[in-house]
Amino acid sequence: MNVTTSAQTRRGFLASATAGAIAVTLAPSSLLAAPEQVAAEMKKLFGDKKLIEGKIKLDLPSIAENGLVVPLNFEVESPMTEKDYVKAVHFFAEGNPNPNVANYFFTPMSPKASAQLRIRLAQTQNIVAVAEMSNGEIYTAKKEVKVTIGGCGG
């Protein structure tokens, strides 16, 4: 009994220590969009709805040599029928001056909720994808891209 309690406290301590470390690394350092800004944009769109991880295949390079042209490829799992389809897929960049990247809107006329595009990234950052399904469920995915040369100004 004693052992369990001490293990729990230790875990609790470790968890709070990690949370503290993350908070420090996320401190805003410049004018660029912070993860909090992305969170705010997402809140505007989805309110307090639950975000479920999964269903989105988000394909981006792990390392982008040129931030001006970074290929982004996505596909959301869905049968794409009148009753069950992907309504929208939104993309956000946590380290760009403007957190919005693109918003895709699909209809049951689309055979796949999938597209390939090219985006600009100012620095190494996370790209967040959020998919809205016709039944109201919301899925999300995240991918980090390391950028060697930024894609803003010059």
């Binding site: 001006l68 042209v69 970074v70 960049a93 760009n96 001056p97 403007n98 919005n100 990247v101 693109a102 918003n103 895709y104 809107f105 699909f106 209809t107 006329m109 689309s110 055979p111 796949k112 999938s114 597209a115 390939q116 595009l117 090219r118 985006i119 600009r120 990234l121 894609g151 803003c152 100004g153 010059g154």
Partner: protein, 109 residues
Amino acid sequence: MTTQPTPRVRMPATAKAGEVVEVKTLISHEMESGQRKDKEGKLIPRKIIKQFTATFNGREIMKADWHGAISANPYQSFFVRVPESGTFVFSWIDDDGSVYKAEQKVTVG
């Protein structure tokens, strides 16, 4: 850049009924993000293509809202179903209100 943006679309001209085909699109456009500064340090105003739409025989298939983070000369590929013979229309809408259009007839054979 002062040249008129030219859209280019590549997709098959014939398909089987109900077939899913890939559409590849490209349009020449500087996609000025509104973040860059000129030599005097003044911000260059934003001028991008803000929306893309795809329709088949007048019905909407998909549309996309683009922001400053979309690369210059935006390339995009996606999928469409060809239910019957008809015309696909792709439109790019510029910040200044101009609309650039491309049409592709597809025959079901």
